[in-house]
Symmetry: C3
Subunit: 140 residues, 3 copies
Amino acid sequence: MDYQEVEGAREYVARLENGRDWRGQIEDFAEEEGIDAAFFFGLGAVTDAELLFYDQDVQEYNTIEFDEPFEMTPAVGNISWLYDERFAHTHAVLSREDGSTVAGHLDKATTFAGELYIREFDTTLEREHDEVTDLDLWPL
Amino acid sequence: MDYQEVEGAREYVARLENGRDWRGQIEDFAEEEGIDAAFFFGLGAVTDAELLFYDQDVQEYNTIEFDEPFEMTPAVGNISWLYDERFAHTHAVLSREDGSTVAGHLDKATTFAGELYIREFDTTLEREHDEVTDLDLWPL
Amino acid sequence: MDYQEVEGAREYVARLENGRDWRGQIEDFAEEEGIDAAFFFGLGAVTDAELLFYDQDVQEYNTIEFDEPFEMTPAVGNISWLYDERFAHTHAVLSREDGSTVAGHLDKATTFAGELYIREFDTTLEREHDEVTDLDLWPL
């Protein structure tokens, strides 16, 4: 396992905005505050969601779309550079009125409400193409 | 997205007590220690659970009751003031013997065992009624 | 609820290694760095997984095996001493191509890719046998 000791830097609590994309507004926040490395933790509710599943054999993402309201229980992710943009890598578990769940890599979801804790680290994390997985990963 | 930079304050690890309500004992702890703003992360096992699902159209919570044992995998939540009480807003994913899951906003669950990390912030978070969602949210 | 105030110590971001066991490489890392108490948060993808479910009546773990690829969405756990070894108590939610999920106490899973935030505490957490649950818990 490759790892890097990091120093904790700024910390934030946030309220996500109703009607805007969950991931997009985290990325806009990262841009505004100049965050180059962070982890975040969130809970809330969304409506509609596009989840990605990475096909490990074919090495491509498949998209799954859901047009319904969900609780977000929870979202865990991180902020780092992906080529020339700050990217919020976000995994989420979503639940329905009967408690049933779907989960995956969250591409898009319209926020109904959301609360976030963001912990910045005093470093820059930058993704690079990884040959083995064909994903963009951190060379730590 | 509305956000507030916060300073990290006290941190705790905790062992939840067998037989007591999961959320209730986090709120009692917050009261005992005088915690006005925190996020927490937990894992463990519970028996019975009441999950809430917020109907985004009707803007009311529906309750779903489950009378069975579950692994808690995981719980993520925060502590802040809701009117005159400290409230532990808790989302949880619960799993069964066959691995199947339910998830949602956790109202109640009887703790079998539980382990928690709590990170306090040096501020006071207080919920206020939000017109758009009819929820009590932080005015950050 | 029993709890202990802890001081935050070292923090790490990590990239889990393709092809190695998810939990095993976290334990090897803990051993290498001499970590005696920590919580960690992760996301990624695995293939194959053994989940444990604790039967609260019989007080024994049952194993469930899954031979398929999953997104890890997310993993939450902690590092502490279990008798003479560092143990990474890990709960995980796993999702499939159609978004469906399984979850539980993660015993093993072959890492495809994984990203971790680890927060160490300046204390030693050591599990001891608990009479009530027949689990190994922290005497805080």
